[in-house]
Amino acid sequence: MTLSRMTRRALLATGAALTAAFALAAASVAADFPDRQITMVVPFAAGGSTDVVARIIAQKMSEDLGQQVIVQNVAGAGGNLGADNVARAEPDGYTILMGTVATHALNPLILKSTPYDAEKDFAPISLLVVVPNVLVVNPELPVKNVEELLALLKAEPGKYSYASSGNGTPLHLSGELFKSMAGVEMEHIPYKGSGPALNDVLGNQVPIMFDNLPSSSGHIKSGTLRALAVTTKERAASFPDIPTIAESGIPGYETYTWNALFAPAGTPPEVIARLNDSAKKTLADPTVAERMKEFSAAIVASSPEELGAHVKAEIAKWTPVVQDAKIQLD
């Protein structure tokens, strides 16, 4: 459902006048917000893809808001530490979270106990970007597309392994969803992040991997990895030649990583509106759009309500996957 919002992006961009009008209205309500620096908490380490998105967005939002938006990395526990920090922060809009599919859909399902409630403890601000995942294989693996891979996996069940950036990550779950929908067997090999996993796939230590498209894209272009399919419902704008998994014999398959801004629950609606407006303007900025495109991320601005609905829909979508794959962490 969110990808249809990508088409709505065009509408948004053309209707810039509308946005400006909305901005004026919002500005008059929250006239004195912000009057000091805003901290954008990134629940992952600096240098990762979420951090990159945050820094690009924060810089433009600072210009728009007239106050510094500072990125603070609070990494740990798969994003839970940073998210929990924001959930417990003053609900004044000065502490906001760069949330992801992990903090707001997967962790609450996978972990026995999450310190926060993904729906009740946060006030959604806006969706920002959707990043496709991709199924890549080492070029020495004799398969050219998903159908051939499925045939290979069915011919020799249990022989092949796939790498992911870690246990319980969106990429791991993409793999589990693939296994359960296609009815094939692959051993999961978790790594500490995409980098080391990618290394072992390049060296053909592990032949198959689910990765974020941005992290693999250099290798796909140079041919050191073979991309079989992207995990989104529609093909990625940056790689129109790569088919989707859904069109390659597993209809209905869809996973992706998304980033969105959240404030603590109880933040005044005027403040949320101001931040939402600022995020929208940032996403409409041509240089930001250019950067995101290079990064293979699709821009998806939304209203706070749409983000709230999105979180609900994501939790609903992942619940059966997590239960089927019996992924339960402490």
Partner: protein, 501 residues
Amino acid sequence: MDLVSNLALGFSTAGSVENLFFCLIGVLLGTLIGVLPGIGATATIAMLLPITFQLEPVSSLIMLAGIYYGAQYGGSTTAILINMPGESSSAVTAIDGYQMARKGRAGAALSIAALGSFFAGSVSTFLVAIFAIPLTGIALKFGAAEYFSLMIVGLVSSVALAHGSIVKALAMVALGLLLGLVGTDIYTGTPRFTLGIREYADGLNFVAVAVGVFGIAEILRNLEGEKTRTLLMAKVSGLWPTKDDFRRMFAPVLRGTAIGSALGILPGGGAILAAFASYTVEKRISKTPEEFGHGAIAGVAGPESANNAGAQTSFIPLLTLGIPANPVMALMVGAMIIQGIVPGPNVASEQPALFWGIIASMWIGNLMLVVLNLPLIGLWVKLLTIPYYVLFPIIMAFCSIGVYSVNSNVYDLYAVAFFGIAGYLLVKLRCEPAPLLLGFVLGPLLEENLRRAMILSRGDPTTFVTRPISAILLAIAAIVLVVVFLPSIKAKREEVFQEED
């Protein structure tokens, strides 16, 4: 001739006034922040990262690289002066460097470190330039089994880090390995040894452990009876290395450079071993191994060179594959992506100016560092004349900031206090902290690769000996064990029995 034209392109890129300026700013900032006690390369880059995002891609990466090796120079300085390493590599430098400082030879130790690093940096930069692309092929041959065997080599030779009881050193390694396992198990997601504290789910922070067991333990030792400072200040005998020193550092620097260059290429943590491995080698082939731990020049020159060579060659997987070898390199990947450069094998062909510019800047940056640092040595040594009771509140304040700035995790600060007292008690029990730290960095790698190798081989343990590289490494470990380890136990035994008489 390709190489010549590539290098020419690199030097013309890195040699532009603008890039020279950012390279200088990078190494300067890196040194200055790195020299603050308790703040090493990772903390420095975490602090300085946002600054670099505003610049042109080439400039920002040149500056980041400058910060990286500048911080390593700075980190060695604090390791030598006040026994406060900010990185695993400078933990080795601290062992003999600090002892040299206590004997009034801080100046010599610092200049040996600087010159050794410069030599190693220059050589390995050219190695990067010549072999970057072919070498990546070798790195990719290293799978889980190979890494496990490599870590075993490191572990077996770690005993050399100790200059006291071997059994105690082994116990410290085991304790370090266990501490390294604290946190979430990556295969099952089970939290281990975290005492239910979620903030330790990603493991204990290296800086917190290192600052605690080395730095704070040393502060507390100096506060015993409050008169030890005079001991440290002894007499500063000569700022510069003597002719004899130069003669004695020559071979260790060469060996350190070779070891560091080779290990740095491996993205799975090879560079971590570089300084430890060099120390082991130097101690084993030295004619006077008893000097090690009491201010041996080879114990500073070798590891410092290895460390710097490893730092340069660890750029190889980053530049040719886009794969970060350590957290600092991960930050550089982030910086590239923010600048719209997709890291990967195409960087060299699509962005030749960037690729060769960074390589050339590494050499320029190392030159700048040695030029900057040699005159500064006099100043650093003067810092030792500051009364200790003034110095340590400063150290504590900077440690707190440095540890907190890495992840904004307050539990890292509590870990500093805990490992401070633990380190002090262990020192009082005559246990040395270096083997513990080696265990700490190796622990997670060892387990992760062991388990991964077993899963990949579907439970067949012969995978470690049927894979050729792994088998060779295990053979090396066995040789080290037999040739080196057994005789030294014997010698130790004899020593113990003599003491008894």
